[in-house]
């Protein structure tokens, strides 16, 4: 540690550069992980809000809520502590000024899918809706009358709730009757029992239904199957893993160059009887110091810049994940010292004496 630290102090520029590079790489890792969490939330937060165990969809739906059509009567086929029916529809809503892709949830007020209202009030009458509060940033307000792309119904925002986006679209919650009006128009009466799925809260996942036409899907699995969700997550994670590799390689190259420059010096020290172990340790300790400083700066930098980002950028920092990634970064960067250690062990002290 002594040797490592003295060298850093003496060669500040050199080590500031490598720490700076590590800082940028770790910043990128943290930022991408924030983006991954943010984008994931965009897709799943309305589902997380359910606090549910599973969702029952039709076997044919291929785990897609949108593709699943069933009758409210099928509640009889389900054994669970709590159940809640849901109808779901994607529409474009406009308040006259701005247009927005939204996800319409038709639910029963007294069931657990009913969100907490953070502003305004519950929907009571037909055509009243509670909206996700991200819509406020798009210019939507309490009392707005919304016209819809696929229906001549007008919906009225009577309340807002927070953290309610589903598959990247803000959610409008309304009652089933309004939902049927929007979805079926004149045919609403004939289809008044039609829903897309049944969400359940239950201790156990098994035996939720005996009906062969229905299938129960664990909530996490359901989320993984939201369109684009897994693909997006894999892409971002791939980038993050790639950065781990890059940081390891950068450190490896940098340290290797430094070590090669110091071969004769190491040789002299070895001739004096200083062990390879001590010298190797010193390089590893040095790398660890640099990696820790770089990662810590990247971490701080990511949090600070996250605070200044416009709300439209879907970045959300999950500190647990960040700390984990931070440790991984420190570990892979330190692993980059491996080649240098190998070089040091191989140095022949004889060479230092010079023939």
């Amino acid at each position: 540690m002594f040797l490592a630290w003295q060298e850093i102090k003496k060669n500040k520029l050199r080590f500031t550069l490598i720490t700076g590079i590590l800082m940028l790489v770790s910043y990128l890792v943290f930022f991408l992980s924030g983006l991954a969490t943010g984008l994931a939330n965009l897709n799943r937060e309305a589902v997380d809000k359910w606090n549910a165990t599973a969702i029952i969809l039709t076997e044919e739906s291929d785990k897609s809520l949108y593709q699943s059509f069933m009758s409210i009567d099928q509640l009889n086929d389900i054994k669970a502590d709590e159940t809640a029916v849901i109808g779901q529809l994607n529409v474009i809503a406009s308040n006259g000024d701005s247009k927005q892709n939204i996800s319409l949830f038709g639910i029963n007020r007294e069931e657990f899918l009913m969100p907490d209202v953070t502003e305004g009030r519950d929907f009571k009458k037909a055509n009243e809706v509670i909206a996700d509060d991200s819509l406020k940033e798009e210019g939507f307000k309490l009392g707005d009358e919304l016209s819809l792309s696929s229906s001549d119904q007008l919906l009225k925002i009577v309340g807002f709730t927070d953290q309610a986006r589903f598959n990247a679209a803000p959610v409008l919650y309304t009652n089933l009757a309004t939902f049927h009006q929007v979805k079926f128009g004149d045919a609403a009466k004939q289809n008044k029992d039609q829903i897309n799925g049944i969400v359940v809260q239950n201790d156990s996942l098994s035996n939720l239904t005996q009906n062969d036409e229905l299938t129960s899907i664990e909530i996490e699995t359901f989320i993984q199957n939201l369109p684009g969700y897994t693909e997006q997550k894999l892409t971002l994670n791939f980038m993050i893993y790639f950065l781990f590799g890059i940081s390891s390689i950068i450190v490896a190259i940098f340290l290797y160059v430094l070590t090669v420059q110091k071969i004769s010096m190491f040789g002299v020290m070895k001739a004096q009887g200083i062990s390879s172990y001590y010298l190797s340790w010193s390089v590893v300790a040095q790398t660890f110091i640099l990696a820790s400083i770089g990662t810590a700066l990247g971490f701080a930098f990511a949090l600070v810049s996250g605070a200044f980002l416009p709300a439209a950028v879907p970045v959300s920092f999950d500190v647990t994940v960040m700390v984990l990634y931070g440790f991984i970064l420190m570990a892979v960067a330190t692993a980059g010292a491996f080649f240098s250690v190998l070089t040091i062990v191989r140095i022949d002290p004889l060479k230092a004496i010079g023939g």
Partner: protein, 238 residues
């Protein structure tokens, strides 16, 4: 008892027709408080001799005994321990660690040798070698002579019984070279070390008690070094 003994030590490199007998069968003895010079032209085997003595190179055959311990029977780890404890190396100028101040050069040794020099002893060493004023400086701030003084201080740190110097004056001008030899002589007498200086600079033998000549891997018998006249004669032979 002799501090250092070599019995029928031989070293050859390579094999077949490429084989080089860098050191032919050699017997050698050195006692405490002796300053010994080994002179000879480049390629004659001086460094080979010195690195074998220092336990850095294993001889092809023969025994190297330091304070009664036979180096050739020990593994690299044990030899490294002996180097640390018994042997101080003084090399050419590249000897110092560029990013350590003079004080820290010595502190590093203190760390790896687990500090067996007291503060008083250390300050005395700085005084003796005239480096007390250089402690905060870095090698790049030192002159060649100052650097070698620090290198000698490093070699002396923790009181080794043997000091091995390979061309310690190669990078110095004459005056500085004499200073360094003066210093080596002083510490040899004061600390009763066995000091072996390898050089191809004939003028330096003035300071030494014994002079050996190396020619094509053969070490001559010792020439007691009494008078300058003897050297002149000796010089004539080279």
């Amino acid at each position: 008892m002799a501090v250092l003994e070599l019995h029928q030590v031989k070293k050859s490199f390579g094999s077949g027709h490429k084989k080089v007998e860098a050191l032919k069968e050699t017997d050698f003895l050195a006692n405490r408080g002796e300053l010994i010079a080994i002179i000879g032209p480049s390629g004659s085997g001086k460094s080979t001799f010195l690195t074998i003595v220092g336990g850095l190179l294993s001889p092809t055959s023969g025994d190297v005994i330091i304070n009664g311990e036979n180096l050739t029977t020990l593994n690299e780890k044990a030899r490294s321990q002996i180097r640390l404890r018994e042997i101080g190396f003084v090399l050419q100028a590249s000897n110092l660690i560029p990013f350590l101040s003079v004080a820290n050069q010595l502190k590093l040794l203190d760390k790896v040798k687990k500090g067996n020099m007291s503060k008083v002893e250390r300050n005395q060493l700085y005084e003796d070698l005239g480096i007390a004023d250089l402690l905060m400086k870095y090698p790049s701030d030192l002159s060649g002579g100052e650097r070698q003084r620090v290198a000698i201080a490093k070699a002396l740190y923790s009181n080794p019984s043997i000091i091995l110097a390979d061309e310690p004056t190669a990078s110095l001008d004459s005056d500085r070279a004499y200073e360094v030899m003066e210093l080596l002589k002083k510490v040899t007498k004061q600390k009763k070390t066995t000091t072996i200086v390898v050089t191809h600079d004939i003028r330096l033998v003035d300071y030494c008690d014994k002079v050996y000549k190396m020619t094509d891997g053969v070490l001559s018998t010792a020439l007691e070094n009494h008078t300058r006249v003897q050297h002149m004669a000796y010089e004539g032979k080279i």
